[in-house]
Structures are given as C-alpha cells and as structure tokens.
C-alpha cells in the first residue's frame, strides 16, 4: 500500500499546551481515512496541520514524500485540498462564484477562466448535483446544499488528496448520508485519497477503509474498522461503555452505547 501523507515526529501545540506529541502517522493512498476521538483530543488540529493551516511546533508533514513546509503553497494546493469546519460564504456570493475559487492555484493574472477551469468546475457541480443551483447565492441554500457547494469548491481544485473537517456537522441524517455517499463515490471512481474527521463512530466504520483513533496526544490504534473497533477501544478512546455488534445491512462494526433509556425488551440483556 502506497502512502499519500506521512507525519514524522509531529508535535503540535497551542501556545504552551501540547496537543499532539511526536506523532508518526502514515495515511494510505487511494483510501478513505477517518480520524476519531473524543472532543478536544486533537483530531481536528492534526487535520489542520496536515493541511498546513497550523504550523507544527516540531516535526514535518510529507505529501507524496515531500515536506509541505518546503513546498510553495500553490503547489500544495494542486495536490491537496482542505474543507475546514463550517466555513461561511460572503453575503450574496453565488455557487458558481464560490466553486470557481477552487481553481485559484491554477489561475494567473491573464488566465482566469481557461477551458480546463470551466471543465473542472462543471464536473464538480455535476458530481455534487448542484448544477441547477449555480446562480443561487450560497447563503440562500439549505445546510446540505451549502455543504455540497463547498465540497464542489474543493473538488474543482482537482487534487488527489481531499481533507475534510467534520463535513457532516449540523446536517440532518439524510444529508449526512448524502455527503458521505458522495465522498465514497469519489474515492471509488477516481481513487482519490480522502481524510476526514467524523464524530459518528458508526458512520466512520461504514465508510472508512482506515480508522485512526486518537487519544492522549498519540495514536491509540490504526487500521480497518472491523479489525480495531472493540469495546476496550471505545472505552479507552471515548470513555464510554458499549457493545459492538455487526451492522445488519453492511456487516461493518456497529457500536451501541450503554447508558440509560427506555428498554422495551422482554428479557433484559444487559
């Protein structure tokens, strides 16, 4: 398995507090990798530093073997795109105007809308099924449509690696599945490397080829969901007791949390 992204001895901090400590991580090329972990465990911070939005205190991030800190930011942008958590579009900006910004790394003063630009933008609009919305202002769309517009922008960037920070936050269940299906298809059809942070462990198990569980500034476990997701892992990473069963539709691990709630079973299993 080839490696798309690698971190070497990566230490991240906000001020004096260390968030990620001396991390060595390999992210496989052409697969979907999902970072999981409790609130504040540093999974978003790690994703941001991979995307060069946060300077590491120490260590390096390598993209296809090259240190991103030494590459020009435009060259990085041609290989890797990032969708940060809940971005906000300026008032009145239309979907087309937004998606077009994904072509920034390819534009020059005189070449602002080449045939290739048009082709990639059209492709991105089609892939996210928002062609009909292209002249609508982004701020007039529903949450799911808006998120698709932002994803279209990152797609227009035409990169092999796509990073997404909680792309399904604030979306209802239908739209969550819609967004994840879209990313799954992109991976399947075009072998794009997708790295994202997800909160929903069950959706992570269903869509990820590779899960990275983060705990105490380090990687707790990494691997296929069906190999690593277990009761002790959930207990240690999230501090929650649960039962792991098999998803009746997909066969992937399904985590059922313990706790309170109405129990209507005749026989009590717990």
């Amino acid at each position: 398995m080839k490696t798309a992204i690698e971190t070497k001895n990566l230490t991240l901090s906000y001020g004096d507090s260390i968030i990620i400590n001396e991390l060595d991580l390999q992210i496989p090329k052409g697969e979907i990798t999902v970072f999981i972990g409790g609130n504040g465990c540093g999974k978003s911070t790690l994703l941001r530093s991979i995307a060069r939005l946060l300077k590491p205190k120490n260590g390096a991030v390598l993209l296809e073997g090259n240190a991103i800190a030494k590459m020009s930011t435009k060259d990085v942008a041609k290989q890797m795109s990032i969708l940060p958590q809940s971005p906000i579009a300026p008032e009145g900006l239309t979907v087309l105007q937004l998606v077009k910004q994904g072509r920034y790394p390819y534009q020059t003063w005189l070449k602002q809308w080449t045939e290739k630009d048009e082709e990639e933008v059209t492709k991105a609009l089609k892939a996210t099924a928002i062609e009909d919305l292209k002249d609508r202002p982004v701020d007039s769309l529903s949450g799911g449509q808006r998120q698709r517009a932002w994803i279209a922008m990152t797609l227009a960037q035409d990169t092999d690696v796509i990073l997404l920070d909680e792309p399904t936050t604030y979306l209802d269940m239908t739209h969550q599945i819609e967004i994840l299906d879209l990313l799954f298809e992109l991976n399947e059809k075009e072998q794009r490397t997708i790295v994202m942070v997800l909160h929903d462990l069950n959706l992570a198990c269903r869509y990820a080829d590779n899960i990275v569980a983060i705990k105490d500034r380090k990687i707790y476990a990494q691997g296929k969901p069906e190999h690593i997701i277990s009761c002790p892992l959930v207990k240690n990473v999230f501090g929650m007791d649960c039962q792991i069963t098999v998803d009746p539709l997909f066969g992937t691990p399904l985590c059922i949390p313990f706790g309170k709630g109405r129990c209507i079973l005749k026989e009590v299993v717990l």
Binding site: L53, P84, P90, G92, L93, Y104, P105
Partner: protein, 351 residues
C-alpha cells in the same frame, strides 16, 4: 452559462469569465457618471448647457466659458470623481480582506490619522495672527503621512504570528477613537479660527482644487486602482476566510499586507486633497454588492463608479444648493448616500 460570457483570446493565453449583469450595470453607471460630470461642470453661478460644456471640452466655447470651466470647475470635479473612486475601492478592499461589512477607512483610523496630522500641521505652523508660517501646499503631505503612519501602527500592533482580521478591526477602532480625541483636544486648545479651518478639512471638501492637485492625484489613484484590479482574485479568496484561502494556495499574509498598502495609498491620496470625506468607503461597496453580488471582479469597478457618482453629486449639491455658501462635499456624501443605501437594504431584505 447564460448569465456569463466566456472571454478567451490569444489561443487561451488570456481568459476571463464576464458577468453579463455586472457589465450592464457598469455601462449604466459609466453613463450616469459621465452625465453628472457634464451637468456639474455646467452648473454654478454661470450656468452652461450640457451642450456648451461639451463644446468647451472639445476646444470651442467663448473665452469666458473656457475660463470658468477649465480653471474653476473642472479641477474640482475631476478631484471629486477620483476621490470617490479611490475611497470606494479602498473600502471594498478593506471589507473583503477584513471580512467585516463595517470595515472602512474611517473605522480603521486611517482618516483619523490624517485629521490629527492636519490639525497638528495647522497648530504647529501658525503664528500668533493665525497666518501659516509654511505654505499650505504641505498640508496634503501631512495628511498623507498621518494616514500612512496610522496604517503602519495598526498593522504593527495587530501583528501576532501574522495579522488576523479581527485584530486589525479592534486595534483600528481603538486607534480611531484615540485620533478623534486628539483632534478634538487640539481643536479646542487652539484659536477658534483654526478650529473652523480644520473642521472644513475634516468634513471633506474638494473646494479650491487645482490642476496641480489633479496632476498628482489622478495618476496616483489610477496606478493603485489598477494594481487593486490585478489582485482581485486574491481578495476573492481572502473573503472566504484564512483557512480556505490558504487551502486553495493563497499567500494570505503577503496578500493582506499588499492590499492594506493599496488601500492606504488610495485613502492617503484622497484625504490629502479632499480631506476626510466620510461614508463613501463604507457605503459604495455595499451598494455595489446589492447590484452585482460579492465577486470582486465585478464589485470593485462598480464600487468605483458608485463612489465617483456619490462624491460628484455631493459636491454639486454642496456648491449650488446654498449658493453663495459652500457646503463641504463630506456633508452630503452621507446626506444623499445614506437614504439610497437604506432603500437598497430595504428593497433586497428578502433576497
């Protein structure tokens, strides 16, 4: 792509996407600005028909008409036009890079810095009889230096591993308040004559503009507006926020610095020759946004023409409506701009 027109030439070496609606808006504004320019030139103590004005422009007309138009009216109208453009473009850039609709040259303290410089200039270089000890021609330089110094100060104080938009705004507001206090203090401490002299400048006026002002201001402003147009794609991504701008490959700190520099140069030039004409930098870009949306390729040129129209109209009203009294143009930029601005907001409230 019905709303847009692809523009490609020289075998793909040059390519743009033109927004049809923005092109139409721009043409209409160009005609309106031209009409106001001609009308304004014809109005005043000696009235000239638009046709007579055009005749003078093309070398005809009587000697008297030529004198009035060329020596008295044209310089100030050209200054009004250019100042309006400069302030509007500077405001548009600031709103984009600071990502705050309330950002403007006034809020960031640039105009305030120029005011303090002018009041100080009048205070330090006046003798007991309120006569200036140096030429008044140095006043624009003082104003420009004031705006430039404050821009540097705000940028320096906002620096913390790069400058963030919110820090620029907060420090700008703080500095701006300080500048206002200093201006008031110096005006109260000096004699009343000087205070009223300073006050006219602070309100903003194009009265007394000369061809030598035009010769400096016009090339200066055009150069920086052109540079701003070349940087449009960078403003477009900065407006999406630092994370997205970095993600698509923008060099955000360098672009933000350069764009602040351009805004400061534009504001500095216009306060130097027309004083602190307020509200244009805030309002013109908002009006433009209502008309053509948020993409800066369309927004900046449309803002520029709205700014030019606002200041030319304000000056026209100021010098004709209460004649022979001259009301500074700065009084009317808000006076005519604000109602239209509120109307636009009201009209597009559901859009």
């Amino acid at each position: 792509m019905s709303q847009y027109k692809n523009f490609r030439m020289m075998k793909g070496k040059v390519s743009f996407l033109l927004d049809n609606k923005a092109t139409i808006v721009l043409i209409v504004l160009l005609i309106v600005a031209g009409a106001i320019f001609v009308l304004s030139t014809g109005m005043g103590d000696m009235k000239l028909s638009p046709l007579a004005v055009l005749k003078v422009f093309f070398g005809g007309g009587t000697e008297m008409e030529t004198l009035v138009v060329q020596s008295f009216r044209l310089p100030r109208i050209i200054v009004a036009l250019v100042v309006g453009m400069a302030l509007a473009v500077a405001g548009g850039i600031l709103q984009g890079i600071i990502r705050n609709p309330l950002a403007s040259p006034d809020v960031l303290g640039l105009t305030g810095g120029a005011s303090v410089a002018v009041v100080s200039f009048l205070a330090f270089f006046s003798d007991q009889n309120n006569a200036l000890t140096v030429s008044i021609k140095w006043m624009p330089l003082a104003a420009f230096a004031g705006a430039g110094f404050i821009a540097m100060l705000v940028y320096f104080l906002a620096w913390k591993n790069g400058v963030s938009p919110i820090r620029i705004v907060l420090i700008g507001i703080g500095i701006s308040a300080l500048m206002q206090a200093l201006t008031t203090l110096m005006m109260i401490m000096g004699p009343i004559y000087r205070a009223s002299q300073a006050n006219i400048w602070i309100t903003g006026t194009v009265y007394g503009s000369s061809w030598s002002n035009v010769a400096i201001l016009v090339p200066w402003t055009i150069i920086f507006i052109l540079i701003a147009f070349f940087m449009v794609k960078n403003i477009n991504i900065l407006e999406l926020g630092d994370d997205i701008a970095t993600g698509v490959g923008g060099n955000i700190q360098r672009h933000r610095f350069l764009l602040l520099l351009i805004s400061t140069a534009l504001v500095g030039g216009s306060v130097a020759f027309a004083g602190g004409i307020g509200f244009v930098g805030l309002m013109a870009p908002h009006m433009a946004r209502r008309l053509v949306g948020s993409s800066f390729g369309a927004l900046l040129p449309v803002s520029a023409f709205i700014g030019a129209i606002l200041v030319m109209l304000a000056d026209l009203i100021g010098r004709t409506m209460f004649s022979p009294l001259e009301i500074p143009a700065g009084v009317f930029t808000a006076g005519i701009g604000a109602p239209y601005f509120i109307y636009l907001l009201f009209k597009t409230r559901n859009a």
